[in-house]
Symmetry: C2
Subunit: 253 residues, 2 copies
Amino acid sequence: MLRDQLLAQSPADLVVFLDEHLRSGRYLVQVVAECEVLYHGRAASVADAGDYLVMLKPDGSLQVHGYRGVKPVNWQPQTDEVWATLEDGQAVLVAERRSPEELVRVVFLETSLVQALELREGSGFVLMGTEAEMQRALARAPELIEPGLTVLDRELPTDVGGIDLFARDAQGCLVVVELKRAKATQEAVHQLARYVARVRELTGEPVRGVLAAPTITKPALAALQRAALAFREVTALPEPDAGPSQGALFEFA
Amino acid sequence: MLRDQLLAQSPADLVVFLDEHLRSGRYLVQVVAECEVLYHGRAASVADAGDYLVMLKPDGSLQVHGYRGVKPVNWQPQTDEVWATLEDGQAVLVAERRSPEELVRVVFLETSLVQALELREGSGFVLMGTEAEMQRALARAPELIEPGLTVLDRELPTDVGGIDLFARDAQGCLVVVELKRAKATQEAVHQLARYVARVRELTGEPVRGVLAAPTITKPALAALQRAALAFREVTALPEPDAGPSQGALFEFA
DNA sequence: ACATGAATATTGGAT
DNA sequence: ATCCAATTTTCATGT
């Protein structure tokens, strides 16, 4: 997978290396160097001279990593053009994209390492415990929310947003369900309240609101109760020691 | 900055290398390999055997990069423990964190490259064009929103969220301003409507609502007008050809 | 530790 | 191209 590598080369050599390996669009290129980074686009930033790891992927995406954090210091998703030039005896890398118009510029002051890697396209990847999965599972087994519930619609669009699950309860009352895969916050309560109010207006019927999530913040629970809405605990992933019914329900089919 | 590097070594050597260089907590370690990745925590995922670049930073954060995208395929922010072991003749890397309880497990099937880098702590970094900056600038020069406006408060907390700018207009009417550094969406309109309604309830006074952003989506503008709220164009960054007043206003002091 | 909200959010999906 | 909503969001900040 390692295709080529240079150690402590001259700026001119670095430019040639980058030029060659970026051109093909087949390599992931890394440069470890002391450098300065400028960004201008949706926002703008300046990073003073420091040690960074610059990663360029074959899709034109760029990221500049510091010594900590998952998030790069600077980055740029899928750019349209990437090139390297020699300016005043220094190697400079520029990545540009249109729409939005953005530019990242890296000046390499002292390069330690450059390398080109070839990563074959990844194979299978499966993610479990998403909100979409939760929604499918609860649509199939709405009794997990409450007994006697009938699901009328999923992702029902209204003029104030999409309702995750729209249902009718055992007594025939309309129910709006808002789902969260993680701890529900006040924002989720506001969303639910908005949907419930709108459905009441549109139908003239009484409407109940249920927030279904694995947990809820204390302030959110208070707001929920003030608004006469309900919380129902639902987990996105089966517990390690969950019973077979729960486990089976949320297993990936 | 490159401290150590191994090419195409045995699983046992890989484990030794990882063990040595992870222990100190001073190195950024990378492994380029064909590997499988398992994740279990807030969600769960499985990545089949494929080529990935695994990066471990000294803070315990982990990321597994594929051939495209800024976002890693798998990752883990600041873990509490990282270790490597030999299992059935294969090198295995595990990164674990408590709170939330999460685990990433990488099985290296065929390693191409391992290296340890030392990146000295970064120096100065300045970001311009944030919402906080916009807020400061507009609080100092509220006439950019409308003439005669007086700012009463910033980040004013209410029980339905924090109001970005709370003000009084030339006629003495209360004004709630919601700021967005990028294109405003319907969500911003909902937020603003909620604040305006709450302030009306609390004060009994008439209240105007203004959404200040560089642009707004078409549906959001429609919703804004239905709710009798106003849009005001405000840019987070000075235009390249902006006049001196605009430019000076938003310059980083 | 908990909660909130911004972000150059990124990314995928729907229209 | 636009717009919306999820995200293992991450991350900084305030309480």
